[in-house]
């Protein structure tokens, strides 16, 4: 049956199982929007294309399915850039479809013509410029295959207006993709597997580094089986939080720049690191020369180019994590590392662990209080979508994630403005989940126009704005490393309660810890999106901290005496 290119686009999306797309119409994509009404696909109209990518990204992170974005040419397409880079750095499967000027006008600087395939080349796994209707289906099918196979990532398909308007026969079978299979990662050699097993079975002080790849590979059960069988404690990267349960007895907590001190110490003193689906980002290693100097290193990653990139490893295991672990598990010997686990426990006990949770409410409200209380009230079962900055780190420290895909955050790119749109996407992917936005006053102001999208689409998310009147993380760096010169970090905010009112949603302000629980309860009871502004201590900092470029064990601790004491108590 003959179809227009625009119809082929929607037909392909439908057959790929797409139910929801996030987008914004415009001239060069108009034929596609015109055909949209014939197809049972929900379109979420955003207020800015950057948010469309973040929504698709949140949708993908919450569900594991590929998120889809639609935008027009020129500025519509360039507005996708930050979102695509965010997804690229965090390995999130997305397909972005952009309209392009007619093929006859390509290269003429036509109205709203931008070379978006050129621009997005380094921030997509692959991209396409489609100029004929008959080429649309192969490109879209391959885009979905590339986005979700191997190490996932975003793919962009730029389709000229005449290709959308032209006619072709949809040959679904003929359009089946094959090129994504060219580089399916090989399984590691038996020699390397045996070497890894020998190291695991001989280790006295092993630590598993648990990364995002566990989630992407669906390898939680295998990772826990390995940890439990050989009694190996695991430390999580930021994106590894929730990939393995925080409440597990072998879970140490987050590693890295704002990781717990005992976690970083365990890594530095380990005799074996087993890196599972993580990539030794500078935020988790500190100074490379002094990173885990005593440890042999085994690195499992589906992306072979990540292995030996920054940290030289002793056994490279390129391959899908779940399959690699399944191959190894039968030969892993049960072990007892009680002395090692006890030692880590002792660091945890007497190393002046940050714990500000049980302090009496002295009139100050601390962000950590908010995170801790939110964790308790939601029983740790919410999907929390954070923005980027201090609140993001406090969330990671005080909201303990047991469930998979329960923390959604921009890790690699650190994209401010991510939280609200990504949360809307997450809620649409998992309507049954309780979704919380945790954002700072700075990042929230970048994309809060999407409140109207939530209202228009009838999406309920709960929003916690952690307002300290500063771009807090930058202020913290200025305080620690720039002699307290607060250049351009004090930031004013609108009256968020009135702002909520203008959007027609519930809003309130909390300034005392004693008011927190009731406010959270009211927000949860609201049928629609609800916003709480938490006015927190203005010049609080995130501790402990490894300064950029410092060794991992060289942590800056909370100054003492401080209104916020550090105690050795375990999390409640």
């Amino acid at each position: 049956m003959d179809r227009t290119g625009a119809q082929i686009i929607w037909e392909c999306l439908l057959r790929e199982g797409v139910e929801t797309v996030f987008g914004y119409p415009g001239g060069a994509i108009l034929p596609t929007y015109d055909a949209m009404t014939e197809y049972p696909i929900r379109h979420v109209l955003v207020r800015h294309e950057q948010s469309a990518v973040h929504m698709a990204d949140g949708f993908a992170r919450a569900s594991g399915r590929t998120g889809v974005v639609v935008a027009t040419s020129g500025p519509g397409a360039t507005n996708l850039v930050t979102g695509l880079a965010t997804a690229m750095l965090d390995s999130i499967p997305l397909v972005a479809i952009t309209g392009q000027v007619g093929s006859g006008l390509l290269g003429t600087d036509a109205f709203q013509e931008v070379d978006i395939t050129g621009i997005t080349l380094p921030i997509t796994k692959h991209n396409y410029l489609v100029t004929r209707a008959q080429d649309i289906a192969p490109a879209i099918r391959e885009a979905f295959a590339v986005a979700s196979s191997g190490r996932p990532g975003p793919v962009l398909v730029d389709i000229t207006k005449d290709a959308q308007q032209g006619r072709a026969t949809l040959d679904w079978e003929g359009a089946a993709p094959t090129r994504h299979l060219r580089h399916i990662p090989p399984s590691p050699s038996q020699v390397d597997l045996d070497r890894a097993l020998a190291m695991i079975n001989a280790a006295q002080r092993p630590v598993i580094l648990a990364g995002h790849g566990i989630q992407l590979s669906g390898a939680r059960a295998e990772v826990l089986a390995l940890a439990e069988l050989a009694q190996i404690p695991f430390a999580e990267t930021l994106l590894g939080l929730g990939a393995v349960p925080a409440s597990h007895v072998l879970s140490l907590g987050m590693m890295g720049m704002h990781g717990e001190s005992w976690v970083n110490q365990a890594i530095q003193e380990a005799d074996l690191l087993i890196a599972l689906g993580m990539r030794f980002d500078d935020r988790v290693t500190g100074r490379l020369k002094e990173y885990a100097p005593n440890a042999l290193k085994i690195h499992v990653d589906i992306d072979a180019s990540e292995i030996n990139k920054l940290v030289p490893v002793d056994v490279p295991l390129g391959g899908d994590l779940k399959q690699v672990l399944q191959a190894m598990l039968p030969s892993v010997k049960a072990a007892d590392h009680t002395p090692w686990l006890e030692r880590i426990r002792s660091w945890r006990g007497d190393s002046a662990v940050r714990d500000i949770k049980n302090l009496p409410d002295d009139g100050h409200l601390y962000a950590a209080h908010v995170m801790h209380d939110l964790w308790k009230i939601t029983k740790g079962e919410a999907v929390v979508v954070t923005d980027v900055g201090q609140h993001q780190m406090w969330e990671a420290q005080y909201y303990h994630h047991d469930g998979e895909r329960s923390l959604i955050t921009s890790g690699g790119a650190g994209t401010m403005g991510f939280a609200l749109p990504a949360a809307i996407g997450a809620k649409l992917a998992r309507p049954e989940a309780e979704v919380w936005v945790v954002a700072g006053d700075g990042g929230f102001q970048m994309t809060f126009a999407e409140l109207m999208t939530a209202v228009q689409e009838g999406v309920k998310v709960n929003i916690a704005i952690i307002n300290n009147g500063y771009l807090g993380m930058v202020r913290q760096w200025q305080a620690l490393f720039y002699e307290g010169r607060y250049a351009a970090t004090p930031i004013l905010s609108p009256d968020f309660v009135k702002l909520a009112g203008a959007f027609g949603i519930h809003g309130e302000r909390v300034e005392k810890r004693s008011d927190l629980e009731a406010a959270v309860a009211r927000a949860r009871q609201q049928p629609g999106t609800a916003l709480i502004e938490f006015k927190v201590e203005q010049e609080d900092s995130v501790y402990p901290m490894v300064a950029a470029g410092a060794a991992l064990h060289d942590m800056i601790r909370r100054p003492s005496p401080s209104p916020i004491a550090e105690t050795g108590a375990d999390p409640v």
Partner: protein
Amino acid sequence: MSHVLVIYTDDEPGVLTRVAMLFRRRGFNIHSLTVGPTERVHVSRMTVVVDTDEATARRAVEHLRKLVNVLEVQQLGHGRNVVRDLALLRVSTRQGRSEVLQLVQVFRANVVDIADDSVVIECTGSLGKIEALVDSLRPFGILELGRTGAVAMARGLRSEDSNRLAAVATVAPGSSGAMSV
């Protein structure tokens, strides 16, 4: 240390950009890059010479293998390759044509054009040979120099090994008619 990479790619617009962008983005220093068709339709072959250490060269290979348009990457071993460069030189003959022509013979190069006071010389060979020829001719006055960069092939591959590469090269050269930019 220079490393020679042979890359088989789809013969599509923009593939060269993808490869070149990858090298730029990851900071791999390209010494030379040549590209041309192969014995297979729709398959191009690039020879890239990079100046880097062994670990970085291996990483470059792994990064190249992630490109959808790349069918296969070989890192040629040292000393087991044929590496050839082509140079065209326009050399002044004002200081003596016969001496120039003698050098051409010594280097087993060819004269492909003769003008009143200059000749155009074509020379194929290893990078070292071409550099030696250029050095020898410099005193006469090199008016123009054009070089292709290296094309390389492994020595001593048995035919079944070559067939394996050929088989790799047939993996669906672009089921999509869409231009990969």
